[in-house]
Symmetry: D3
Subunit: 69 residues, 6 copies
């Protein structure tokens, strides 16, 4: 499947925090660069996510903001 | 200002594509790792964005999806 | 690629309205049931979208609201 | 109330998974076509959601992505 | 129509900036308190938006971030 | 930090509902005008949120919808 989301950053799962409905997943996309996702627990299970697994962090460009110091 | 968005990735502006209402901004957050944002043109101007400028790509964790091959 | 977004509705492109930065894409997912997406023009071109093409409308469950009459 | 969200798909509640803060709601919008929403538990209660109830799945067009096989 | 989005702030349209696909709409929800929306031009036309019109700014709670100084 | 999100409404925390992964935070941005956010519990703790604290409700303009009666 190829998707219109402009951003698909390759990385691996660093940490997972499961809740009742949602699970928090942290992905390392470059040394020291991490992206945290909150996805449904059902999705985390469907994808077989676990620490170390190779994944992509996928983000629609309209969901990215820019900040300056 | 400190923000609840879990993800604030440091980088620099690589490219900008201005439209009428929106502007597309690409940020390099690590060598070869880029994130594209679509923000309003008014915001891009308010922040004084231009190629090379040091910025953060800010993303709420509920807007990040996880994909596997 | 398999993605954590809970919703991937199969359909075909019914209409496209291109802008400068964004393109509006309408997908028919069942007879008389349509979903409209606004994606970047670059994504629409990368995916080779055109009327009639078989596609999926993909939506993260945290982006869906429920309404009642 | 009429809303700017381009997508309001008529259907009925198929399943609900309540959490502490959020509730997952699955809506059937056509035979075999389902959309899953994660909304706050407070909203689910305010709307009186239950299995079988007639509802709309409402989605802003900027939150819809397009994917191809 | 009653909607699961937790936030529906009553106000009036202060300004509109039309683009090709999208229109930027600024709503005053209290004296001096404004919220800016970017919606599709088609939605702005369907709702008959114009300066001064009474409207609601509707926001899903998962799309709101919190910041501190 | 200055951010591209068009909307940063000043207010104070009125109520908090903690879950396992997420926390619901209600902010009063004008007398009688409230905005509810769902953010990760980790973010709520990092920002030191508590009732009465001065905060901003930050919203990207592409996440705001317009509704009419």
């Amino acid at each position: 499947m190829e998707i219109s989301a402009r951003n698909a950053l390759k990385g691996s799962v660093k940490a997972m925090v499961p809740g009742v409905v949602n699970t928090e997943v942290t992905v390392e996309v470059a040394p020291g660069v991490e992206i945290t996702a909150v996805i449904t627990k059902a999705s985390a299970e469907k994808l077989g996510l676990m620490e170390g697994k190779a994944v992509y962090a996928v983000i629609k460009s309209s969901d990215v903001m820019i900040a300056t110091d």
